[in-house]
Amino acid sequence: MNDHEWLDEEAGPVVRPFALTGGRTRHGASDFDLMTLVVQSSESRYGSLLLGPEHEEILELCRMPVSVAEVASSLDLAIGVVRVLLGDLLTEGRISVRAQAPVAQFPSSRIIKEVIDGLQAL
């Protein structure tokens, strides 16, 4: 019989989410908006931080630019946790951050027309 049969969804995660970040819930490095793109740095300088497996997974994911939301959902980690881990990587120079331009900030009817065309072509 499974010793751990009492561990189910209801019991919650076995590892508390912020255990992965050493209890840190905030990182000063960047705000990391959900749509901010992160990408592995080409010239990653040697860092002092010991990377955990989650850091490595993030680096693997962002060989090409990906949004913070995608990193979180691909790794199935909470956004808050991912933000702290990304902050570590940014501080260590392992990733760089690129803001995507939200169309809402500079809306133009030309772009919206393009969105409509793109949706129609799906």
Binding site: D33, A69, S109
Partner: protein
Amino acid sequence: MDSRPSEAELAVKILVAGGFGAGKTTLVGSVSEMRPLRTEEQLTERSIGVDELAGVERKSTTTVAMDFGRITLRTGLVLYLFGTPGQDRFWFMWDELAEGALGAVVLADTRRLADCFASIDYFERRGLPFIIAVNSFDGARPYSPDDIRIALDLDPEVPVVGCDARSRESSKQVLITLMGHVMTAMAKR
């Protein structure tokens, strides 16, 4: 770093709101590759009369699950869909989700129309263009868009469309209607 908005990377953010069970997950999933997105938030509770530490704030976390979908429209133009958390106690997430959003779809279930009042209020207050998509459920009596407009006390320019969130084509049309409404709202500014 170049902070100028580059034509090469444009992001369109759309919110999908509506009451619990109105079909948010279904709509996001039918039109995009949907994946759940989790956020862990600190809740602060006051423990009362437990021990000498009574009154000391005890922190616990709560998980909020949202739906997240991405559609690449062309190279450098990506549409992100975010389903808002269904329950009212997750209002704290809304401001972050609404930041940088271009518009919103409010999914309505005619059997529980009141469930979308809160979303409508929120988007009206924020001045975010939104449309109402009435999801068709088996066994729900069909209402005319005008009936729904009156029941929801909507401004006359807010589009009300019927949809079947399970259908990719229908969900696409909902997003296209929203974009058309965003364009109209823009022209008025």
